[in-house]
Symmetry: D3
Subunit: 173 residues, 6 copies
C-alpha cells in the first residue's frame, strides 16, 4: 500500500499514473520505518445470536477464536486480494473481538505492524473484514440478517504522514 | 458454505459438531441445485472524494473498474479466506458499483451463482467486501476517513431454505 | 488424486506416461462416485508439553482448535501443494485431535469426502500433516524436539478400488 | 515463526497473548540476523516400491525430482498454511532425498535459510512434509500403506536462541 | 472461461455486460460437456543453450522435467491469474516439451481436459506460458536473450462452438 | 530469481546443485541492491479485433485496463508459479499496453523494481505473460487465432551483472 503523501497520479490518487493507468506505485525512494495500523469493524446481530456467541468456547463452538484466526490469516493475503497493494513482510497481526450488548454484536479490532517502505492500513482493514465475514459464516445458520458495519481505519503511525487518528470515534449515526 | 437449514451442531450452528469442534460440514446429502446470492456494501466518503471517483474512467483513473475486478477475483478466493467454506465452481459473479450522492459514496452490489450442494452467500459477501476494500485502497491517499458500511446479504435463492430477502431494506439507522 | 487402479504409466505409477513424463492423469473416463478417505498423524511431545495442551482452551491458548482449523484449511490447498493432484470440490473435511498420554502427544485423524471422479486420500493426508505442523508451530517455544509420526492413510472408500483399510493398525514399532 | 525465547503468552506459548487469544506475535524488536533450519522426514515403503523409485529418472518417472520440487515450492507456502507464521523472504531452500534400504524408503532433508527477524523452522518442516506427501501421491498406486515418519527439526542456527541440534539423532524407537 | 459463442456483451466480447462492465459471465445455461484444449509455445534460445538442455536429466539438471511440472501446476492456478476465468475442476493436464534444433529451442504443447459448462483454452495457454517462463528461469544464467514465441491455441473440442483447429499451423514468419 | 553470475551448478545453470538436483539457490551472500527489469510481449490479432480494443474504455469494455491489472497482480504471484524463484517484496510494478497497427495487435511492457538480493526478471516476464493471456481471454470470443509473441527481457539493472539490454531490439523476423 501507499502513503497518502505520494500525491502524484490522477487527481491526487497514488495508484494511477499521469495517463490514468493503474500502477503499483514505486516506493523505492521511501524510508524503511516501522509502521502500525489499527482498523475496526462491527458485526451487528440479533441479541439471541450474540447470546449463542457468548456461550461458545473451545468446547462449544468457538466463533470468536475462529474469526480471530481467519482475520490474522486474511491479513497475510492482502496483497493477493487488493490489486495494487505491495507485498509486505508483516511483523505482527493481532485481532481482538469483543461482544457488545449495546450494538448488539461483536466489535473487531485488528492491528498490523511492519518495518517497510509503505504502510499496513490495508492489512489491518483486510484482517477486520475477513474476521467479520467469518463471523457471518459461522452464525448465518441462525441469523442471516447480520450486518457488517463501520469497517474503517482507527489509527496509523509511521511513514511520512506520521500519526493519524480517525477524527470522529463517536458511534456511527 | 452451508444452508441455514442444517441445524445440527452446537446451538443451531452448522460449523460445529456435537462436541463444539469446527468442521467443514458434510453437504454430501444435499441436492445439487442452482443457487444465487446477492450481497451489498457501501463505502461512505467525503463528497469531494466521490467527485474524484465520478471523474475517473479508463483514461483518468478508473476506481470503479478496478474495484469491480477485485471483487470478482475476491469471490474466487472465498474458500481460501473463510475457514469452513466449501470450494465451489462459481458459474457467474457480477459486481455493480454505483455512485450515490446521498450517502455520499459508492454502493456495491455483488451477485454470485453456482449449481452446487451449498449456497454462495459467502462468495457474494466476499466480493462486496473485497471491492469495498479496493475502493478504500485506491482513494485513501485523499480520504483516509472513509467507512465501509452495511455489508450484508440482500437476497438468496435455491437450496432447501428457498428464497430469502433481507427483511429490512431501509437505510442503516 | 488418482485411484490406484489406473495402473498405466511407468512401472505401475499412474502419474507418469509411457515415456516417464509426469502428467495430471486423465480421470475423464472414471465414474463420479462418493469417495471418503481417513488419514492419521501423531505428534509426539514431552509429557509436560502435553500437559500445557490439555490446559488450553479458548480462554487459555487453544492449540487443538487452531490446529484443527489449519488442517481443514490445508485440505483445501491440496491441489496447490501436491503437483499432480486434481482440484476437487470437497464436500466435507473433519479433523479430530485427541491427547494421548501413552504416546505422549496428540493423535490427529482427518476425514475428507467428495463426490468426484477421483479419490481424496491426499486431501485427508494433507489435512493431517498441516494440523501436525501447526501443533509443532504452536508448541515449539517450549518443546523443539517434538516429532510428527505415522502420517498414513487409515481407510478409503469409493472408486473402482473400493474399500481399503490399513492392513496393520498396530502401533509403530 | 517465532523464536522459542519469546516466552510471553500463556504457559510459555508465544502464539497466545495473556488472555489466551492467538496472535501473530510481534517480532519488531528482534534483530535481523541470518537464520538456518534443517528438518527431516522419512517415507517408509515396501522394498519393491523403493526399487521402483530407484529405477526412476527423468526418462522413467522421476519421483525424487518431483518430490524435491514440491518440497521447495511448499516451503514458499508456509505462511499460507500455518496460521500464525510470519511471511518470510526465503533466501534458499534445498531438499535432499535419499533412498535408504534399511528403512526401507526415502529420507528427506530440507534446509531453509533467511535473513530476518524470526526463524525458518516451519519452512524447513513444511518443505519436508510436502515432499513426503508428494512421494506418497506418486507411489500410492502401487503401495497405499506407506507411512510418513519422523518429521522433525534436526538443527537450527541464528536468532537469540542460537544453535540447536536435535538431542537424539538415534533412530525412532 | 467462456465459449466464443456467447456473443453478448460489448462488441461481441463476452466478458463485458451491456454497459461495458467486466463480468464473470454466467454459464449456468450451458451444457456440461467434455471439453479439451491444446495450446503451444516455443522458447527460442542459442544453440549452445539447447545443447545444455539436451544433456540434462534427473542426474544433471532436468530443465524439461521441471518446466513440465510448473506448467501442470500453473494450469491449476488459471482462475487465480486470469481475472474473469471460471474455476474449473480440471480432469487432466499434460505438457509435452520437445527440443527442436531448427528453432533452435524447445516446443511446448499443453493439453487440458474438463467436463464442465465452459472450455479450458485458458488453462492450456496458461500451462504453456508458465512452462515457458520456467524454462527461461532455469536457463537465464547462461542465455538471457531467450524469447518465448508463438503462444497460441492449437485446437479445441467440445462446447457449443465444437471443434476448432488453428487455421494456419505453418511456422511463424 | 538468480543473477546470471552465480554460475555454480550443472553446466553453468544456477538452479541445480553439483548432483543435478534442483535448488532454490542461496542468495544470502549477495548484496541488497536496487534491481529493475523490463520485459515485453506482443499479442498479434486481426485488425478488426484491434479496432474493438481501441473502442473500449471503462464504459465500453476496457480490455487494456483489465489486462494491465492482471499483469500487475500476476507479478505478485511469480514465486508461486515459477518453482525456483525467490519470494520478493516488490516495490513497484507497471504494465504499459499500447495498440500497434503495424503488428497488428498490442505491445505490452512490464517493469518491476525491488531492493533485494536477487533480480526481478521473472516478475517482469510473468507480468507481461499474464497480461497477454488476459488479453487473449477477453478477446477470444471474437478472435481465437490470436498469438502471443516475443515475450522477452528488454533490460535489467542492478546486481552483480549490472546493466543489460536486449542485444537486438529489432522486430522479430
Amino acid at each position: 500500500m501507499t502513503d497518502s503523501t505520494d500525491n502524484g497520479g490522477s487527481g491526487g490518487l497514488t495508484h494511477f499514473d499521469a495517463t490514468g493507468a493503474a500502477v503499483m506505485v514505486d516506493v523505492s525512494a521511501k524510508d524503511v520505518t516501522e509502521r502500525v495500523a489499527i482498523a475496526e469493524a462491527r458485526v451487528r446481530m440479533a441479541p439471541e445470536t450474540l447470546a449463542v456467541v457468548r456461550r461458545g468456547d473451545a468446547r462449544k463452538g468457538d466463533v470468536i477464536g475462529i474469526a480471530r484466526l481467519a482475520g490474522i490469516m486474511g491479513a497475510k493475503r492482502t496483497a493477493d486480494l487488493i490489486p495494487l497493494c505491495h507485498p509486505l513482510p508483516l511483523q505482527s497481526v493481532t485481532v481482538d473481538i469483543e461482544p457488545d450488548d449495546a450494538l448488539p454484536g461483536l466489535t473487531i479490532r485488528a492491528t498490523a505492524r511492519v518495518t517497510a517502505r509503505t504502510g499496513v492500513e490495508m492489512e489491518a482493514l483486510t484482517a477486520a473484514s475477513v474476521a467479520s465475514l467469518t463471523v457471518y459464516d459461522m452464525l448465518k445458520a441462525i441469523d442471516r440478517g447480520m450486518t457488517i458495519e463501520a469497517v474503517r481505519l482507527i489509527e496509523k503511525r509511521g511513514g511520512r504522514s506520521g500519526h493519524w487518528t480517525a477524527p470522529s470515534l463517536i458511534p456511527e449515526p
